[in-house]
Symmetry: C2
Subunit: 421 residues, 2 copies
C-alpha cells in the first residue's frame, strides 16, 4: 500500500515537474489565456460541476459533524465561485514576473550583469478545508511559470477535484501540459509524507493551515518549506503615543477582521499612559464585544476583565479576545514581543522618532509598523496584487508572497568576450 502510494505520488510529481519546464517558457499571453479560460469555465457549466461536487463535500461534512466555522470555510456557492473567477482574471491582469531583470549594472570590465526572475519549478501546496485555495494557488503558480502539486483537505476533496479539472482543461486547450496543475488524488497522510520527501523534484512546499499541519510538514519535509505560520501580533502603545490614534489603530487591528492572522492578539501599553489610556480602551473594546485578558497592572485600570494566563500571551485567538499588558517603556515592549511574538506583524504607536526607528530595526517580524494597523500585512494591502500567503520564514521570502516571491533571481551577464584576469 505504502509502496503503491510512493509510486503514485512520485510519478505524478515527476510529470508535474516535466510540465514545469514547459510552463517556465510559456508566454505571458499563453498563461493569461489559461487563467481567463479557467475563469470563464467557473462562471459556466464546469462551475456547475464544482458546485455539485461541493454539495457532496458539504453533505458529507455535515454528517461528520464539522463545526459551523469549518462548514463555512468549505462552502462554495455561485457568489463565492464568481469571486474565485474574478480572482483568476485579476491574476491574469498582473504583470508577468518571469524574465524581469532587476539590479542591472555594468561592471568595470564592461560586463553587463543583473538578476532575472525565473520560476522555481514545481511548487507544492498543502492546505486544509478551503477549496478556493485550489484556484488561488494554481493561478499564482501558473502566472509565475511554475507547475503546482496540490494536496487539499479531505473534506474538500470533490470540490478540489472539480476545480483542478477546470485548470487542466484550460491548460490543454491552450496547448500547455495539463500536468502543470496536479491535485493529488488522495488525502492520505502517507501520500503527503511522500510528497514532502521529493527532494530534487519538488522545489518548495508551502503548508497553509493550522499549527498542527505546519509543524507536521516542517518536521518531515526533505524539500524547502516556507512556513505560513500563526500571527500572534502586538500593538505597543508607546508613552509618547497620540491616544486617539492608538485607540483607532487598536480597534481596527482587533475587530475589523478578527479571524485572520494579521489581527492583533495582544496590546501592550507603556506604564506612563496606562492610567489614562486603558479605561478608554476597555470601554471601546467592550462596546465591540471584545473580551479582555489583562495582566495585574492593566487590570487595575480596566473593568470586568479576566486575568491573563501565561499561555494567553502565546495564543493566536483569531477571535474577539485581546490580551492587554502594561510594560515599562520600549525596552520591555521589545523584549515581550521577542518572547511571545510569532515573527508576523508588530506595530508601535508613537510620536517619538527614535522609538519608531528602534522598533523598525529591533523587532523581528515579517512586517514592522509605525502608527498603522497590523491588518496591513497582506499582499493586497501592500500592493503585491495577490498573495499565496504570508511567510514567517526568514529565508527566501519574509512576509506576503506574491508572484515575485514564487520566483528565484538568477544572475545574468552579457559581455563581448570578457575573460577573467
Amino acid at each position: 500500500m505504502t509502496d503503491d502510494l510512493t509510486t503514485l505520488v512520485t510519478g505524478l510529481a515527476r510529470r508535474a515537474k516535466d510540465a514545469s519546464r514547459v510552463l517556465a517558457n510559456a508566454t505571458t499571453a499563453q498563461k493569461n489565456a489559461v487563467l481567463r479560460r479557467a475563469a470563464e469555465a467557473l462562471r459556466g457549466e464546469p462551475g456547475d460541476r464544482v458546485i455539485e461536487a461541493n454539495e457532496r463535500d458539504m453533505a458529507a461534512a455535515q454528517q461528520m459533524g464539522l463545526s459551523k466555522a469549518m462548514l463555512d470555510r468549505l462552502d462554495l456557492d455561485r457568489k463565492r465561485l464568481e469571486s474565485v473567477a474574478d480572482g483568476l482574471d485579476q491574476v491574469a491582469g498582473l504583470p508577468d514576473p518571469v524574465g524581469a531583470v532587476v539590479e542591472e549594472r555594468v561592471l568595470d570590465n564592461g560586463l553587463r550583469v543583473g538578476k532575472m526572475r525565473a520560476p522555481l519549478g514545481l511548487v507544492g501546496i498543502i492546505y486544509e478545508s478551503r477549496p478556493n485555495v485550489t484556484a488561488d494557488a494554481a493561478s499564482l503558480c501558473l502566472k509565475s511559470g511554475n507547475a503546482v502539486l496540490l494536496r487539499g483537505g479531505k473534506e474538500a476533496f470533490h470540490s478540489n477535484t472539480a476545480i483542478a479539472e477546470v485548470f487542466t482543461q484550460a491548460l490543454a486547450a491552450e496547448g500547455l501540459p495539463p500536468e502543470a496543475v496536479t491535485l493529488l488524488p488522495t488525502t492520505d497522510r502517507q501520500a503527503t509524507l511522500v510528497m514532502i520527501g521529493l527532494d530534487g523534484i519538488l522545489d518548495m512546499v508551502i503548508p497553509r493551515g493550522g499549527e498542527g499541519l505546519i509543524r507536521f510538514v516542517a518536521e518531515h519535509a526533505r524539500v524547502p518549506v516556507i512556513q505560513h505560520y500563526k500571527g500572534v501580533c502586538h500593538v505597543f502603545v508607546d508613552g509618547s503615543a497620540d491616544p486617539e490614534m492608538a485607540l483607532e489603530i487598536a480597534l481596527n487591528a482587533k475587530v475589523q477582521r478578527p479571524g485572520v492572522c494579521n489581527a492583533m492578539e495582544t496590546l501592550l501599553v507603556d506604564a506612563a499612559l496606562a492610567p489614562t489610556f486603558l479605561p478608554k480602551l476597555g470601554a471601546a473594546m467592550d462596546a465591540k464585544g471584545v473580551e479582555i485578558h489583562a495582566d495585574d497592572r492593566a487590570a487595575a485600570h480596566l473593568n470586568g476583565v479576566k486575568s491573563a494566563s501565561e499561555a494567553d500571551w502565546d495564543t493566536e485567538y483569531l477571535d474577539l479576545i485581546l490580551n492587554v499588558g502594561v510594560v515599562d517603556g520600549i525596552d520591555a515592549a521589545i523584549a515581550h514581543v521577542a518572547k511571545h511574538g510569532s515573527n508576523h506583524t508588530e506595530a508601535i504607536v508613537t510620536k517619538d522618532a527614535a522609538h519608531a526607528d528602534r522598533w523598525l530595526r529591533e523587532v523581528d517580524a515579517s512586517l514592522v509598523l509605525v502608527n498603522a494597523s497590523t491588518r496591513f500585512n497582506d499582499g493586497f494591502a501592500l500592493g503585491l496584487g495577490a498573495e499565496i500567503g504570508i511567510s514567517t520564514t526568514k529565508l527566501h521570502a519574509y512576509g506576503p508572497m506574491g508572484l515575485a516571491e514564487l520566483c528565484t533571481l538568477k544572475w545574468v551577464g552579457q559581455g563581448e568576450g570578457q575573460v577573467r584576469q
Copy 2:
C-alpha cells in the same frame, strides 16, 4: 555519549543564538572594530599561535598520509595568514547591509512601505579542510549582524580553534558577546547531526565542501540548507559565434583556474562550426596540457582524444580535463545543459541576439552568460565585495552570496494612523 553531545551542541548553539540578538543591534562601528582587531591579532602574537596550531595539524595530517592537495589546503603560513587578515580588513570596509531599506514606496493611503535588511540570526557553516574558512565565514556573518556556529574539518581542528579564539577575544574586547563566533569543540559526525537538527535555533546552514558532505547535510538537516554544490559548467559555441572569441573564452574558462567550481567542464559546439572550430580548440587545449574527452562527432575533428563516457558528462573534474561534444543547434545545447548541468554557471558564445536571449531565459543556472567566461561567477567578480560561497539552491539566494544574502528582508511600514478599511 550521544546524549552528552546533544546537550553540548544544543547548549553552545543556544548561547550563540542569544549572542545573535545582541549582534543584530550592534553598530557598524562596533562590528568593524571587531574585524579590524581580529586582523591585527592575526598579524601579531595570536597569529603565531595560529601558525603553531597549524603546524600541529599539518604534522598529524602528514602522518595520516593526506594527499598533497589536501595538505596544501590545510597549510597556513605567514603569507596566507596575512591574506586572511587583509580579507577581514576588506570586509570591515564594505557597507553594512543591516538596516538598509530597499523597494521603498508610498501606498495610496499614504503608508510608506519598504523592505529593510535584517540579520538572519544564527548561521551554521559546515566545512572541510581549509582553516581560512573559519575567518572568512566569521567575518561575513559578523558584518551582516549574524552569529555563526562553525563546524570545521577534523584535520584543521587546532588551526580553527586558534582562529576562532582570535574572534572571541576581539568580540569581548569590543563589548560584544564572544559566543557570536562559536566553533564546535568536536568534529564528531554525531555532533554535526545534532547541529543540523536545531530547528528554531539555527536559522540557516551552509555546507561547504565535497559532494558527500553536502548530500549528508541536505539529507539530515531539519533547518534550511543553502547548498553550495558542484559546478558542471558548460560553454556552448553557437553556430553564429565568433570563433576567436569562443576560443579565448573556452581557454579562460578551462585553464585560468581549473580547480574551482566555476571552471568549464564541458564544451558544446554547434555542428555547423565543429569542422573549423574544433581543430583549433584541440590544438590550443593541447598546448595548455588539457586532456579532452570527446563524443564521436567531436572526435572526428580532434587528434589524440579519449572517448567520453556517459558519466563524464556529469563529472566536475576540477582539473585539466574537458569534455567536448557536438550538438545540433541551440535546442540540443539547452537540452544537454538541462540534463547534465548543475545549476551553476552556463555560457553561450553567439552573435545571434535571439539565441542569446533564449539562453538567458531558458537555461536554469545561478549565472547564465552571453559571450563571457564562466569564471566570472563569484562574489568578487560580480561586485559583491566578498562571498560566503556560491549557492546552487534556488530559494533565498541563487549564485554568489555576499553580505546582503546573509540577511533577510523584512517589510517596514510608517504611517500616520492608517487603519484597514
